[in-house]
Symmetry: C2
């Protein structure tokens, strides 16, 4: 008999088994995610994602995934790809969505559809070094979710709160993360 | 006579003209970048980047750029795309690289090659709600740059410091950004 429980396409049994395993061996909860980047020309560069460390082992089994990064012409680029601050919104969108859907699955709340939109305000006087008084990073980011599920709005608000609380990308943006940048000699 | 100055593929003349223009009209420095996301199934969702507001006008001229986001099997996914925290590293890589190259261009330092690698440590006990004592976001991110240019290491270190100081994504991760998440009713 297969006792695997799937809700919203999420394997709830695997999540609960993973939680039990980590409670016994907390060290397997440490993941190391990686990217590489190679400059192409001007504002165009290319990032690659492939291997990571997790669950106590290196994993190099994935095919490499390549991302083109560029700016629009108004910011001196040629639209060879989305720009870095747009990738940040993409990261946030993926994480909040997965966090919302996964926690809904564990709570046994079936969801039919989730859509969300993201807008971040950036004052480029920071990047251009024109003013020290403006944030160099996003001044603010606003997110709006539409959730199609047979639960009252109050429950949807709870899901949105959980999505934020448990989202690694949300917490990497809303809270400071130490980033150290070194020269390879 | 064409007096456009290009260094590292970056139009330095355009940057300097933009800086002058913004000094006269600071309001054109406000940009609004956007993304949309649609859940597919389980940990798989899809983000789209297209329009933005900048330089005082809406810009909808780009083709839409679509990103698949998923988790590896060990995190309940099927590798349909890079995962959200990897997209965050991609964003950081693009921004530090562009910031470094652009500021080198303005300083008239020709660069032949820039490569960088990124590693972020994440304890998934935060995401899984197992412990309130660990960061839900990245615990730390380490970055290493290789720069091929005819300048001493000291100057390369200066470029790396400038890359950080003026990078919108670096500053959106290293410093807290207010993110508000709402339910569309």
């Amino acid at each position: 008999m297969d006792t695997t429980k799937i809700v919203n396409g999420v394997n709830v049994t695997q999540i609960l088994d993973t939680i039990e395993l980590i409670k016994q061996k907390p060290e397997i909860a440490l993941f190391k995610f990686r990217a590489r980047n190679e400059w192409v020309a001007g504002t165009h560069n290319r990032a690659t994602v492939k291997d990571f460390y997790g669950a106590g082992a290196e994993d190099d089994t994935r095919e490499a995934i390549v991302f083109e990064i560029d700016e629009p012409p108004v910011l001196c680029g040629e639209n060879a790809g989305a720009n870095p601050v747009e990738y940040l919104l993409v990261a946030l969108s993926g994480c909040l969505t997965t966090s919302l859907v996964a926690h809904a699955a564990v709570l046994d709340i079936p969801i039919r559809k989730v859509e969300s939109r993201y807008e971040g305000e950036l004052d480029i006087r920071g990047f251009l070094g024109i003013s020290e008084d403006v944030n160099v990073g996003y001044r603010t980011i606003r997110v709006f979710f539409r959730i199609d599920a047979d639960v009252p709005d109050e429950k949807k608000e709870e899901l949105i709160a959980m999505a934020q609380k448990y989202s690694p990308v949300f917490n990497s943006i809303a809270k400071p993360v130490p980033v150290s940048v070194h020269l390879d000699r």
